[in-house]
């Protein structure tokens, strides 16, 4: 009924709205049971403060970063002798551990220097890594992490990552997670992922499963490491990954982070602030924080009320990337909707993090009395959430934005959301037209692809055939289309689909 509301009918809108609103307010207690809570009124913006600086300072005091000797010269000779003994010492090989214990952390820097010294034979360099691991100190772990991250030799990165597992210092976890972003060597990746798992972070679990499923010499090793990671959890890898990626991630029996790891985490949160000029470290911090456990969601969410606007917004993005694992902080994201600077990003985050409780709040944010920026974010989020309560209102919104002067980005957000809500039929014709638009053809193409795929996954008539045609126009695997090629592809798809739409919509 609302979808068909003609433009001429709008003068009656205020009265209708008031009537409907009164009905809802009067009968609100009966609503939760039928899933139709009235949209909450906007709250007062939360009080902001130096959350990240305060927390970071407290953790730095509680768990100071390991201090290391400034140069590698002191102890260079003694540690070099240890390496020779460890590699060539025969029955005396294990005696080096006594000498190593005598040196303690004084051996850390020279051993790391030996590991990087390309003039030394590989077995001596590997022994240096082994001895660093044997120190089992936070300082040694710090240097091993440096080797795992920055060594130009992939074998050394792999070796260092492997030895880190036995160090017992979980403060290296964030640094290792960052390695997942940049590591291209499969062996080094394997050991980074495996060590992360042993230290209680499952960020590399999917990658480890992929390596184990390959048909190469590395697969057996990856499978063994995978088993070692998931066995203590009392489940198989698939179950562990599903839990880690879902709303019940806290049910995984993983160890809580130490203060030292929390210190590293808050250093990364500070990297999100406006004090960091380069976007690269911002993106690195966002990557790492979004791949840590659900406990990290709580830490990050507490910074949604930080005084720094960059930090607030990027924290919302971290939670968005984390997805359902961050469900534990849904309430804090809902509160963040009241802070204008972060509200659009918080809305988008709720699309991936939230559950049914987020729908009324997002519908309210999509209202015409809210800032355009927030409306677009909220409508996108409703589509990402895909909960059917939103379908009717979003459809009404989409259909009401049919005038050429109406904000087309909001209409595109609504059209895309309709696909996510299972109502793509309502937007398919318009999306097909937009395939020829200069402004939002890419979004239209993605949405239509999703609509066809969803239809083909059911028994809906014609969708399987239409999807085959659609995919037939795709770029060859591995190809990177230029502008001309992309335009031609969309034109072909639009032409094919235009001929098929009548049979698809409503089928």
């Amino acid at each position: 009924m609302t979808a068909a509301l003609p433009a001429e009918g709008r003068p009656a809108r205020a009265g209708l709205l008031r009537l409907a609103g009164l009905a809802l307010v009067g009968l609100a207690p009966a609503l939760p049971s039928c899933g139709g809570e009235p949209p909450p009124a906007p709250n007062a913006p939360p009080a902001l403060g130096p959350v990240a600086r305060t927390r970071s300072a407290a953790l730095t005091t509680a768990a100071p970063a390991p201090a290391l000797p400034p140069t590698a010269e002191e102890g260079a000779e003694a540690t070099r002798a240890m390496l020779e003994t460890r590699v060539h010492g025969g029955q005396f090989r294990d005696l080096v551990f006594e000498d190593l214990a005598g040196l303690g952390d004084a051996a850390v820097v020279p051993l790391a220097a030996h590991a990087l010294d390309t003039r030394l034979p590989a077995d001596l360099r590997a022994a240096a890594v082994e001895l660093l691991g044997a120190l089992r100190s936070p300082a040694a772990a710090e240097r091993l992490l440096g080797l795992a991250k920055d060594s130009p030799d992939a074998w050394l990165r792999a070796h260092a990552a492997w030895r880190l597992a036995a160090c017992g210092s979980d403060h290296v976890v964030p640094g290792l997670v960052l390695r997942l972003k940049y590591e291209r060597d499969p062996d080094a990746f394997l050991w980074v992922a495996a060590t992360l798992g042993r230290l209680g972070c499952l960020a590399g679990l999917g990658g480890l499963m992929e390596l184990a499923a390959r048909e190469d010499a590395r697969a057996a090793l990856a499978a063994a490491e995978l088993a070692a990671v998931v066995e203590p959890l009392g489940m198989d890898a698939e179950q562990a990954l599903a839990l880690w990626s879902g709303v019940d991630a806290e049910a995984l029996p993983l160890p809580p982070p130490s203060d030292a790891q929390l210190r590293e985490v808050w250093d990364l949160v500070l990297d999100l602030s406006g004090d960091t000029f380069q976007l690269r470290p911002v993106d690195d911090a966002r990557y790492v924080l979004s791949r840590l456990g659900p406990w990290c969601a709580r830490e990050v969410a507490s910074a949604l009320v930080d005084e720094d606007p960059w930090l607030r917004l990027h924290c919302a993005q971290v939670l968005e990337t984390m997805g359902p694992r961050a469900r534990v902080v849904e309430g804090q994201l809902l509160h963040a909707l009241a802070e204008p600077g972060v509200a659009p990003a918080a809305a988008e985050a709720l699309g991936r993090v939230g559950g049914p409780d987020a729908v009324p709040a997002l519908l309210a944010c999509a209202g015409s009395d809210r800032p355009h920026e927030l409306r677009v974010g909220a409508v996108r989020a409703l589509g990402t959430l895909g909960l059917s309560e939103a379908a009717g209102p979003v459809r009404t919104l989409f259909e009401s934005l049919d005038a050429p002067a109406a904000p087309q980005d909001l209409r595109m957000a609504a059209a895309t959301a309709l696909v996510g809500l299972g109502e793509g039929d309502a937007a398919a014709a318009w999306l097909t037209e937009r395939l020829g638009s200069a402004a939002d053809a890419s979004e239209a193409e993605v949405a239509l692809g999703a609509w066809l795929r969803a239809g083909a996954a059911t028994t809906r008539v014609g969708f399987a055939e239409a999807l085959r045609t659609w995919d037939g126009h795709a770029d060859p695997p591995g190809a990177l289309p230029n502008t001309e090629r992309a335009i031609a592809r969309r034109r072909s798809r639009a032409a094919s689909l235009a001929g098929q739409l009548a049979g698809l919509v409503g089928s």
Partner: protein
């Protein structure tokens, strides 16, 4: 009870539907907007500037196909901040910008540079009688104004070390010149850069001469205002050569000689080969850049340089070569024009 619930659901739907539908304020009117929300609002009064901007790569920052491919359709969030930025004045001159959630298709729009935090408009003159009532803000001409985005890959840092900085020749002198050279006519808003072949040609030189050892080739960063190429790792320049007999029909394929580019972070085995404007950066030698002199000497060995040789410099807006369907290995490309622009060519007899 079921009826009651039915009425409630219906009422909710009506209410939410009406709440979500656009207010009359969203319908286009010819009245002056009370809120500046889109570049299209500027078009009526600033037709010429709007047309220049609409034709610019700032306007295409979100929709350009190369950007979309390289950012995986912006699923790589790091790209959004500068390709659909909130106003520079919102976060402050010289700070990095924040990303927009809406109107992203407008890319780097009028509002990104001209909207002030109080909702008024920054211009070059005070004009309270104009519909947008601009206030003069000299920051618009400062190099730091562009830095929030254009120093993400050190362009402004590079510039600050050059004679141009000492002389006060900023970004806008080359990239936003005066219209017809007239100080009263405003500045071009096309923001010409790497997509403007003539500007690229003026920034770099190619020389080639024959000697006993073959052919000595030089590429020089002529403008020395920042590195060549600059601003992002997706840009590249390639030097190719081929035999050049008099009959064009007899010319063979090109052979790759050298690439000038800054690698992506994961390309750990590739050094930066940018033609820097200065030998050293602010903190000493440029990171990972071993051949930093503004003039790059190259050589084509004698055995490959028999007969007339054509040497050419090509400029690329994407780091890879595509033949429409596949991505080619640069060293195996024989026709760079499939995915690059010819900047300079020299024929060595």
């Amino acid at each position: 009870m079921k009826k009651l619930l039915g009425i409630l659901v219906l009422a909710t739907a009506v209410w939410l539907g009406l709440e979500l539908s656009p207010s009359s304020g969203e319908r286009a009117t010819s009245a002056t907007p009370t809120q500046w929300t889109s570049s299209s609002q500027c078009q009526a009064c600033h037709e010429e500037v709007y047309a220049e901007w609409a034709d610019s790569w700032h306007a295409k920052a979100w929709i350009d196909e190369d950007v979309r491919v390289q950012s995986a359709d912006f699923s790589n969030k790091i790209c959004i901040d500068c390709h659909a930025p909130r106003p520079v004045f919102e976060t402050g001159i010289g700070n990095r910008v924040l990303p927009r959630s809406s109107r992203r298709a407008e890319g780097v729009d009028c509002i990104s540079c001209h909207l002030l935090p109080d909702g008024t408009i920054a211009g070059t003159i005070d004009n309270p009688s104009a519909p947008c009532r601009p206030v003069a803000r000299r920051e618009l001409q400062r190099v730091d104004f562009c830095a929030g985005c254009h120093d993400q890959h050190k362009t402004v840092t590079q510039w600050k070390l050059t004679d141009h900085a000492t002389n006060g020749t900023g970004c806008i002198e080359c990239h936003m010149p005066l219209r017809e050279g007239d100080p009263n006519a405003g500045r071009y808003h096309q923001m010409a850069g790497g997509h403007d072949l003539e500007l690229v040609r003026s920034a770099v030189a190619l020389r080639a001469t024959r000697d006993e050892a073959g052919i000595a080739v030089e590429v020089e960063n002529l403008m020395r205002a920042h590195s060549f190429p600059t601003d992002e790792r997706s840009r590249a320049a390639d030097v190719f050569y081929r035999s050049a007999p008099e009959d064009p029909e007899q010319r063979g394929g090109w052979t790759h000689l050298h690439r000038i580019r800054d690698p992506y972070r994961h390309e750990v085995d590739q050094p930066s080969t940018l033609l820097q404007a200065t030998p050293e950066g602010p903190d000493g030698p440029w990171e990972n850049n071993t051949e930093v002199h503004p003039v790059r000497p190259l050589r084509i060995a004698a055995e490959a340089a028999a007969g007339p040789i054509e040497v050419a410099l090509f400029y690329k807006l994407a780091p890879y070569y595509r033949d429409g369907e596949t991505v080619l290995v640069t060293e195996e490309v024989t026709d760079p024009l499939i995915d690059a622009q010819l900047v300079h060519r020299v024929v060595v007899p």
